[in-house]
């Protein structure tokens, strides 16, 4: 699905991401509050769902090559996080859904888990 379709499925607000970037196709996803958990995967997920709302969400995305980060549970997102996302070219979204609900909806929309272990 495209990132804009993903935003719609999660009733998410795009905090950073151009029209063009939101047209990117994404297939794999990882859901975690722990950045090391996301980095532990063999395959880099296209999208991360997380309850974390720190600068590390964007840095982890940049380091791992994740296209989009979605902050769940309606956590307030500081402006400097959005700025860093702009700097690092990471699509950033926010949704009020829980991590479980967001995961369930993306699964129903056809997204799949990234490869888990080496």
């Amino acid at each position: 699905m495209t990132l804009s379709a993903l935003a719609e499925a999660l009733s998410a607000k795009a905090l950073h991401g151009s029209e063009e970037e939101l047209q990117q196709e994404v297939v794999t996803v990882a859901a975690s509050d722990l950045m090391s958990d996301i980095l532990a995967r063999l395959g880099t997920p296209d999208v991360m769902l997380t309850g974390l709302a720190t600068l590390q969400v964007v840095r982890t995305s940049a380091v791992a090559g994740i296209k989009a980060a979605v902050i769940v549970r309606g956590k307030p997102v500081e402006e400097r996080l959005v700025e860093l996302a702009r700097e690092e070219d990471i699509v950033l979204m926010s949704t009020d859904l829980s991590l479980f609900e967001a995961s369930g909806r993306l699964y129903a929309a056809g997204m799949r888990s990234a490869a888990v272990r080496t």
Binding site: S36, L39, L52, Q56, R59, V63
Partner: protein
């Protein structure tokens, strides 16, 4: 290898079918007549269509089928009777490199692309689409960043010396979560510009980031020293901190001495050292409690070249 070919190769492994296919393709229904198909192929200048019934791909009909029908008299009949039934399909999430094998193995010129979940038709994949897709992406690759990358990646080739290395250093401040990870993200960009193989850059960036986070979480300050030679990339990270009392225990998945505030920031779940180990070809961790810790990791670039 010519950098342009290397780029094409990289794209084959990066791009997925969904990135390049022709969407909303022209389709036919099995009950449409062959004479209609003839008009469709002629007017739309295409060489075949998927045949769709009730939202599902039931067959594929091509100009070859049309020619076969014409040469056997051209008695009008429904497409259903001449189409190839239950054709091989591709999935939108497959890597481009996998699809090329399909073209080679089957000899077919086009494949319907379907959604893995509900089997619905998303588009059609042809060799033409692959070429167009690759050319489009390669054009992108001529952007400024790529030019810079090209220049940087030639440093090793352009300079002559008996021994060549690039040495980059960053200082890390303990307990500063805002700056944490900045060195590693910058370093990843540097490695990309230097033309280091993406897999190597990815592994070094992850190991480096985990190591940097450990300094931020536990130590007062640290220094990260990266060394890049034609044979390997390595990182030595030294910190002034509490040290690790039991390294064997610290390496155990799930083991962590992190404080609660660290856990609430999404770190300290006892995975960092494991991740570093997975990424590195060599890892050497030494620590003196009360003094500090030195971690050295090495990743060999030669191995990546060998697989090419």
């Amino acid at each position: 290898m010519d950098p342009r070919f290397a780029k094409t190769r990289e794209l084959l492994y990066q791009l997925r079918v969904a990135d390049i296919i022709r969407r909303e393709p022209i389709v036919t229904h099995p009950d449409q007549m062959m004479s209609e198909l003839r008009a469709i192929l002629r007017d739309r200048r295409i060489s075949g269509t998927p045949v769709v019934e009730d939202g599902r791909v039931v067959g594929i009909i091509s100009i070859e089928d049309l020619i076969g029908w014409l040469s056997s008299g051209g008695q009008d009949c429904p497409i259903r009777e001449k189409m190839t039934r239950d054709p091989e399909v591709l999935y939108a999430d497959q890597l481009l490199v996998q699809t090329i094998q399909h073209f080679d193995a089957s000899g077919f010129g086009r494949f319907p692309v379907i959604d893995r979940r509900d089997g619905s038709l998303i588009g059609i994949m042809t060799k033409g689409a692959i070429i167009e897709g690759l050319l489009g992406k390669l054009e992108h690759a001529l952007r400024e960043e790529e030019i810079r990358q090209y220049r940087a990646s030639h440093i090793f080739e352009d300079l002559t010396a008996e021994y060549k290395e690039i040495y980059l250093t960053y200082e890390v401040k303990g307990k500063d979560f805002d700056l944490a990870g900045k060195a590693s993200t910058q370093m990843k960009r540097n490695l990309k510009r230097l033309g280091i193989h993406p897999d190597i850059a990815h592994r070094l960036a992850i190991a480096s980031y985990e190591a940097e986070m450990n300094v931020v979480i536990y130590a007062d300050r640290g220094v990260m020293e990266y060394r890049i030679t034609p044979q390997e990339v390595s990182l030595r990270i030294r910190d002034q901190g509490p040290g690790i009392a039991d390294i064997e225990k610290a390496m155990r998945p799930g083991y962590s001495t992190a404080a609660d505030w660290v856990r609430e920031l999404g770190f300290g779940a006892g995975m960092g050292l494991q991740n570093i180990k997975k990424c590195a070809d060599r890892m050497d961790l030494r620590s003196t409690p009360g003094v500090g810790t030195t971690l050295k990791i090495r990743i060999f670039t030669r191995k990546a070249n060998e697989t090419e």
